[in-house]
Symmetry: C2
Subunit: 245 residues, 2 copies
């Protein structure tokens, strides 16, 4: 059963304003929900068309597919929808490589980057306050459960980089040194910039190591790489070197 007030609450959670107000967000799909249940995240409500999660000893509210359609943010709803509590902010571990995002606006890109951080064992992801919210339903969906394994902190990135004295600060720029030949450490901060404008001017000033992914094609017209594919290549390079050392 699904009450009117539950429908109102859940559908409001696509807006950051209401996620902040209620301190809740939506996770859809059995696999992702199970991963969040196995993590430190606290469940608030669980709706499912089948009693599939009984082993986890959580209360499933059985609903019809018609009801699920009313509350799902997906064009093809995926059996179950859960509401979790937004966790408290954890301290950032500065003893390993931290990824920082400056003004990433596309939810799909942020979700893909969270999934990459999880794959490459990056524990902390820092986001500028103008980066898209990681509890946005599209981000949660694109992160495929990885969101519950990466600690994400929103903060004033410019202030943080200027005052934290964390070095080195790697930044990706077209004119940077080739990532294949530059010296990288498994410590410090790797900054990635906005989809259209790259890293902002003030944040650029804090960068100690300008790095780039060399282009192998001949065309001058080729667009720079998408920020999520650039992150994939950068993290692969940073991590590969740490094995070889």
């Amino acid at each position: 059963m699904l009450s009117k007030s539950q429908i109102k609450l859940i559908t409001s959670l696509d807006k950051k304003k209401y996620r902040s107000k209620h301190q809740l967000f939506v996770v859809e799909g059995i696999k992702s929900i199970q991963e969040f249940l196995n993590s430190d995240y606290k469940l608030n409500l669980l709706f499912s068309v089948e009693d599939i999660l009984q082993k986890n000893e959580v209360n499933t509210n059985l609903i019809t597919e018609f009801e699920l359609k009313k509350i799902s943010f997906l064009s093809t709803p995926n059996c179950a929808l859960a509401i979790f509590k937004i966790p408290e902010v954890k301290a950032i571990d500065h003893n390993s490589l931290v990824v920082a995002l400056d003004n990433i606006s596309d939810p799909g890109n942020l979700g893909t980057i969270i999934r990459l951080c999880d794959w490459f064992g990056i524990k902390d992801l820092i986001c500028s306050t103008n980066t898209v919210d990681c509890f946005n339903p599209k981000v949660v969906q694109a992160s495929m459960g990885s969101l519950c394994r990466v600690n994400i902190t929103y903060l004033d990135l410019e202030y943080y980089l200027k005052n934290k004295q964390m070095k080195p600060i790697y930044g990706t720029f077209m004119d940077g040194e080739s990532i294949y030949s530059s010296t990288v450490m498994n410590k410090g901060i790797l900054v990635l910039g906005n989809e259209a404008n790259g890293i902002g001017e003030e944040i650029e000033k804090t960068v100690t190591d300008r790095i780039a992914i060399p282009q192998f094609g001949n065309s001058r017209e080729t667009e720079s790489l998408n920020v999520a594919t650039a992150t994939a290549i950068m993290l692969s390079e940073f991590k590969r070197r740490t094995i070889e050392k």
Copy 2:
């Protein structure tokens, strides 16, 4: 001016059936259109809200923003829309690394992979016949102009790999050898598989070198990487090695 028959033609081009019938496809946005005009692709019709492309000595049909909205496939139309002719299939150059896609279904993934091929100087991309069509408007949009610089051939991939005797054939599998330590050449075929099911069974049999991107995170629950980010890392590794040799 925009005639009724032009509107009917253009809006029909989101379907493969009509693209094949007319041998035409749509490119939107000034930057992408200019890249296609500078390539071997032949223009059929060009519509724009401003006469921005006059230098290219092509006839621009000036239309209003209201008219552009009627024919655009974008939620925010981008000043200009052009119709180009689908080019004839060119021979595949087997003397360098060729990328082959087995049943890629997401237009955004195919567009991103085309953009990656362009960046890493991959001249030929082979697609199984059940891979999403590269002239689909969403693919053209995601490829950001790179489509005009990569030769794309749709063929029976299983038959091709079994009979072409092109070696090595690299395939990505969870149990493959680490890409960081395996021997790779700047020749042969790199096969990437479907988003949900990976490389199909029959195509798997043709693979001579099973490779993988090692996972650095600790979780067993982490999803495998998205096919576009996996392609990014694979191409970066293949190309990096060729510099260092």
